[in-house]
């Protein structure tokens, strides 16, 4: 299956998307999703699913990276930084190091992000697991493999619910964040190709960065040199159907205002 590179189609699509995109680094009307999954294959799939439903996506490979991206990785609240605009966090449940459930709890404990809807994905349909996540404040629980219909449903829910919180946040510039890297690819993952440019202040639009997988073994997460960070902007294809909003499964009010 000799193709010219693991991300060539993704790079091409990024170049296509560069055309005609406004110069602002982030359109506040765009839905920005943070996707968390330790599996490279699943990360690519969820990222694609979200992009074809017009979401901007940042994909990371662990709960720790997610917290890092959100600026929640240290105890001190970074009040002086502008808050990141994240409209939805979608995370795998089973991950080494920090599970999706643990990540959910940390997000719900944070003042900046507790109102961001968190969706859990899992390959296992375990009722106690689902209940536990919903009780902790998860917005929804998706059974893997995630389908286009699932994501469209989530997407339509995001547009119908009140998104004043995310629009009210100011955006934290990605290059200020430690978690954004232009990394060179480890040899074991993707075929060698020049690193793609990541989004930065000067770039007029968003392009996907290279992605690589972390170790397949269930070793405890350690801070590896490279990040898995894939940020890309939505496809030009709009959502064609508006599904009815998903049933809200919040069993516990976030207790705000």
């Amino acid at each position: 299956m000799a193709r010219d590179g693991g991300v060539s189609c993704l790079r091409r699509s990024a170049e296509m998307m560069n055309v005609g995109i406004e110069s602002a680094p982030l359109d506040l009307d765009e839905v920005h999703v943070l996707a968390v999954d330790d599996s490279l294959v699943d990360r690519i799939v969820i990222e694609r699913l979200l992009r074809v439903t017009s979401c901007k996506v940042t994909a990371v490979d662990s709960g720790w990276r997610a917290l890092e991206f959100l600026g929640l990785d240290n105890e001190k609240a970074s009040a002086e930084f502008d808050r990141l605009k994240v409209d939805l966090i979608i995370t795998d449940y089973c991950m080494p190091g920090m599970t999706g459930y643990e990540l959910l709890k940390k997000i719900k404990e944070s003042s900046n992000f507790r109102e961001v809807p968190v969706v859990i994905m899992s390959s296992e349909n375990v009722l106690t697991r689902i209940d536990r996540c919903l009780e902790e404040g998860a917005e929804d629980f998706l059974l893997k493999p995630v389908k286009l219909a699932d994501v469209k449903r989530l997407r339509s829910h995001l547009t119908t619910k009140d998104v004043k919180l995310s629009n009210g946040n100011k955006r934290k510039l990605p290059e200020d964040s430690d978690s954004v890297h232009t990394t060179s690819l480890p040899a074991t993952t993707l075929p060698p190709s020049p690193p793609l440019t990541i989004l930065s202040d000067s770039s007029p639009s968003l392009s996907p960065v290279e992605m690589f997988s972390s170790s397949a073994l269930s070793s405890p997460i350690d801070d590896e040199d490279g990040d898995v960070l894939l940020t890309s902007s939505p496809e030009s294809s709009p959502t064609t159907e508006e599904e009815s909003p998903i049933r809200r499964q919040k069993l516990r009010s976030p207790g705000l205002d």
Binding site: S8, S13, L40, S218
Partner: protein
Amino acid sequence: MDTLIAQLQKQFRDYTISLYHQGFLDDQFTELKKMQDEFSPDFVAELVTLFFEDCEKLISNMARALDQTGNVDFKLVGSSVHQLKGSSSSVGAKRVKGLCVVFKECCDSQNYEGCVRCLQQVDVEYKSLKAKLQDLFNLEQQIVQAGGRIPQVDI
């Protein structure tokens, strides 16, 4: 030229349908195809490439763990099987996923012979799928090179 395209398209259709009917692929593969478009025409091909690389890596991990005679860490094997089950499910590799289910049960019950058998089967299976998908993608290329359109196949 038209006859050639039509022939290739028919071959492509028939081959695709047979892969589904024989259980190599399931509707998740169809989902992936839905997400492919003219801007990302190689999305599925590149994704399955990564999947097969993942297979190779995970299977090698499993083999290594099973090789520790007398001291097999079944949890470690099980963890790799779980990962393979997940990614095979995500790309629609139905047979590989099915084998992983059985394999996981062998790991959970610490059935060494069962695990070794499953490992061999999963190795054969992913390679077989890889070859078949390669043929499918080659057909696609031939159609495009002949100036034709890749047909939408409804399963």
